[in-house]
Structure formats: C-alpha cells, structure tokens
C-alpha cells in the first residue's frame, strides 16, 4: 500500500516538476518557434504540440537540469515536421503588414527583412533550422548538432550553404 501511495505522490511531484520546467521555457520556445515558422499561429500550435509531446516523454528525461535542450530538441523537431508537411507561405497579421514596407529611417532594415524573408523561404527546411539556431538562438555548432540529431560536420556544411545563399540574396537585393 505504501508503495502505491508513494507512486501517487511521485506522480503529483512529477506533474509539478514538469509544469514548472515547461512553463519556464514557454516564452523562449514560442519565440523560437515563431522565428523558425514565421507565423505566430503556427508557433502557438507547434509550442503546444511540443509541450504535450514533452509531457508524454517526460519519463525518459533522466536529468531535469537537461530539460531546456531536451525540450528544445522536441520543439525543433515539431517545427521541422510542420514545415515539411505544409510548405506554406508565411502569413502575417494585417496590422503588421504595413510594417513590412514601413518607412522612416528603417528603410535599410525593412529591405533586409523583405529580402531575407524571401530568401529564407527558398532554403530547405534543414537549412532554415541551422540558420535560426545559430544566428537567433546563438547555439554552438555542437549544440545545434545535438538539437537536430546530426553530426557537427553536417551542421557546418548546412550553415555554410545557407549563409552563402542568404548573403547572395542580400548582395543581390541591395
């Protein structure tokens, strides 16, 4: 009986631990998904799905201190699946649409944004992920390899190819 009660208590503890860890990562995860997917609604769905997946797999996480990279790996995989399945054009709120062509002294940034958004959409899914993880999340090559489950050499070659294309787009567009 005591073992069963222990199990019940352990279940409640586990639940609380997960809620705390997941909630701590939620904002960063939503932003990362938004940057990867380029769509707030898609980011919301992806983050939601990643949390549910993480909860289901929570028993496999041995070290709670590794929750952040472990959850980030799940989130990135979720985003990758969504991009591969849908290949849809990015969409934006109408309220934000005007900002795309916003004037003032932000012409340069707006130009970059338009050019890079278009070039980014032409990259493969794997190339998009390494770009975001390197230049937005500021992860090392080894960390990116860990998140994507590929060798570091693969990350380097993807990064090289992707940045060359983005650079070419910038130079061609400026």
């Amino acid at each position: 009986v005591s073992a069963t009660v222990d199990r019940a208590e352990a279940g409640a503890d586990r639940r609380a631990v997960f809620a705390t860890l997941a909630d701590r990562e939620l904002d960063a995860a939503y932003r990362l998904a938004g940057v990867i997917l380029g769509d707030a609604f898609e980011a919301e769905d992806a983050t939601h799905d990643a949390v549910v997946t993480a909860w289901r797999r929570f028993g496999s996480l041995r070290d709670p201190d590794r929750f952040e990279p472990w959850f980030q790996r799940i989130l990135v995989n979720t985003c990758r699946d969504r991009m591969r399945r849908r290949r849809r054009r990015p969409s934006v709120d109408l309220a934000q649409a005007g900002e795309l062509t916003g004037g003032g002294d932000a012409f340069g940034a707006a130009d970059d944004r338009l050019v890079l958004d278009a070039a980014f959409e032409r990259l493969s899914v794997d190339h998009r992920l390494v770009v975001v993880l390197r230049f937005y999340a500021d992860l090392t090559v080894d960390d990116i390899a860990d998140r994507l489950g590929v060798p570091a050499g693969t990350v380097k070659s993807r990064l090289h190819a992707a940045t060359q294309r983005l650079q070419a787009a910038l130079e061609g567009g400026s």
């Binding site: 009986v1 069963t4 009660v5 199990r7 019940a8 279940g11 409640a12 586990r14 639940r15 997960f18 809620a19 997941a22 909630d23 939620l26 904002d27 939503y30 932003r31 938004g34 940057v35 380029g38 707030a40 609604f41 980011a43 919301e44 769905d45 983050t47 939601h48 949390v51 549910v52 909860w55 289901r56 028993g59 399945r85 849908r86 849809r88 054009r89 990015p90 969409s91 934006v92 709120d93 109408l94 309220a95 649409a97 795309l100 940034a109 970059d112 944004r113 890079l116 958004d117 278009a118 770009v131 975001v132 230049f135 937005y136 940045t163 983005l166 650079q167 910038l170 130079e171 400026s174």
Partner: protein, 309 residues
C-alpha cells in the same frame, strides 16, 4: 560590395529578431497547467480495512488492478479549453495513454469524459455556435488508420463522422485527412482543414446534420469566415474545385469584404475558438479568393477570384 562574416551575422541576427512573434498567448500557459483527474484518496483510506486481512496473493492482484487503473487516471494534462455559448467548457485531457475530450460546466457539476476510446486520440474540440454540437478530430496514434473529423450532438450523444470518405479508407492514404476543424458562424457548416501534401490546404465544408459535403476549396492558407458567415475568405491561394458557377468580382467588392471581415474580427480559422484575432494574409499577396456562401443552403452561390499577379 561584399559583406563580412561579422556584418552578415549581425544582419541575420537583426532580421531573425524581427520574426519573433508577440507576447506568448495565454492559452499556451494553460497547456502547462497540470491537473489530476481523480486522486481517489478514499481508496487509500479504506484499503487496509478492506483488504488487509486477505492472503498476500489476492492482495497483490487487487493492488495490481488498482495500479493499472491509476496509470490511466492519476496524472493528466488538460489543454485546449474551448467554451460554448451556453457556458460548457470542452478540453483535451492527455494522459500517457492518449488524449480524450472532457466537458465541464464551470458553474457546477462533475467533469464528464466525452470520448472514451482507448485506441484513438481525440483532439481539437470546437463547439458549434449554439453549443449543441461539438466537433473534434479522432486519430490513431499508431497511425494504422487515418485521422477523421467527428461531430457529436450533445443532447442525443450521437456521433457522426464528417469527412471526405465517411465509411471507407481514404483513396490517397492518410495524406489528405483532417488536421483542423471549425464551424461557420451560423453553425450550418463544419469546415475541415486537410493538409494537401506540399501544396497547402484543402478546406472542405460539410453539413453537420447529414455529413454531406457542401464545397471544397484549396489554397496555401486556411479559410476564414467573415463574422456574418456571408464570406469565406482564402487570403492566399486560388480555387481549384467548386460546385457552382464562377463569377469574377470586382476588386473593390472583394476589398470591401476583406476590410469588413478584418474590422469585425474573423470568427473562424484553424482553431476558431482560440483565434478571434483577425484576418491574416500572405506576406506576398498576389491572389485573393472569396467564396460567397448563401445563408440558406450554404452551397456557394457564386465564387469570385481576384488575381492581382
């Protein structure tokens, strides 16, 4: 003029930051609000009294049975709440065994488990506007059968499948099966959003009372209703299959409809109950498709396509 690596990194970082979405939606924080379905404390209190004198073997068997039951009910994750206009709340409960839909009246009463399938996951609950019907998706987590869209009448508890292939295996495998579900503002049509390989979505309308298909459109984005249910807007994309005559509308007419819809808020989308925020459009809008839906039959009376490319 070439860009140095450092300059490029800085420009890429600055650009990526502009892709950040806004504030995290409150609904996401609800995802991590973990709840217990039933702790059943009384079980533990009476255990020793009832079974203490039993022989060890019998006691162990009973203990194992209770452990099995607890494995299902002890720890759950409640997500995706959606409220009907009559106040009932439907939400998805995820356990390690799968997901089911529960319904609760916040003003009183016990939570009710609406779906009890052990081999399927039910997700994406969406109330009909009058709160009398609940639509949701049903999928086999093992992938041996394709996801299907269901509508349940809450009074009779009769469940109906609304799908392109109501009673048979889809002809294209699971590629063209529902991923999202929603209602027209007047409740006369259920929409299912179905991924179409790499080309976008197919949006299919069904009469929820018969399951009969009313129209099908395809585009790169999901269909959105105007608040009055008179317009079904595809912000990006074009029509490929329509059951009625095609009429080309003037740009002004379509623009008026878009503005009207944006001003009033869009009632439907992928998760219509979660997303009243407004109309979206593609970053590069070149085509706008508008389906005019008549209020009486919900069959498209006229379909206008604006091509600005």
């Amino acid at each position: 003029m070439t860009t140095t690596d450092r300059e490029l990194e800085a420009r890429l970082h600055a650009w990526l930051v502009t892709r950040e979405p806004g504030m995290t939606p409150d609904s996401l924080h609800q995802v991590t609000s973990v709840a217990t379905a039933s702790a059943r404390p009384s079980v533990w209190g009476v255990w020793a009294d009832l079974f203490g004198p039993m022989r060890p073997a019998a006691s162990v068997l009973i203990l194992l049975a209770i452990l099995a039951a607890l494995a299902v009910t002890l720890v759950v994750l409640a997500t995706r709440p959606t409220t009907a206009n009559n106040g009932l709340v439907a939400y998805v409960v995820a356990t390690e065994q799968g997901t089911d839909i529960w319904v609760n009246d916040p003003l009183g009463g016990e939570p009710q488990q609406l779906t009890t399938t052990s081999t399927f996951d039910e997700t994406s609950p969406a109330w009909s506007p009058d709160g009398t019907q609940l639509a949701y998706l049903r999928a086999d987590p093992e992938g041996s059968t394709c996801p299907r869209a269901m509508v349940r009448d809450m009074a009779s508890q009769v469940e109906r499948m609304v799908d392109l292939w109501p009673s048979s295996t889809p002809p294209f495998g699971c590629e063209l099966t529902p991923e999202g579900i929603g209602w027209s503002p007047d409740g006369r049509t259920v929409l299912t959003y179905q991924a179409q390989g790499y080309t976008g979505f197919v949006t299919v309308g069904f009469d929820p009372t018969t399951g009969k298909q009313t129209f099908t459109i395809a585009a790169d984005d999901r269909a959105l209703w105007s608040p009055d249910g008179a317009w079904l807007v595809e912000p990006v994309g074009e029509l490929f299959l329509v059951p009625a005559a095609v009429v080309t509308l003037g740009f002004d007419q379509i623009l008026d409809a878009l503005v009207q819809a944006a001003a009033g808020g869009i009632a439907s989308g992928n998760q219509p109950q979660d997303r009243p925020g407004g109309l979206r459009r593609g970053a590069v809008v070149r085509r706008v498709s508008v389906v005019v839906v008549t209020g009486a039959t919900l069959a498209p009376a006229a379909i206008g396509v604006l091509n600005r490319a």
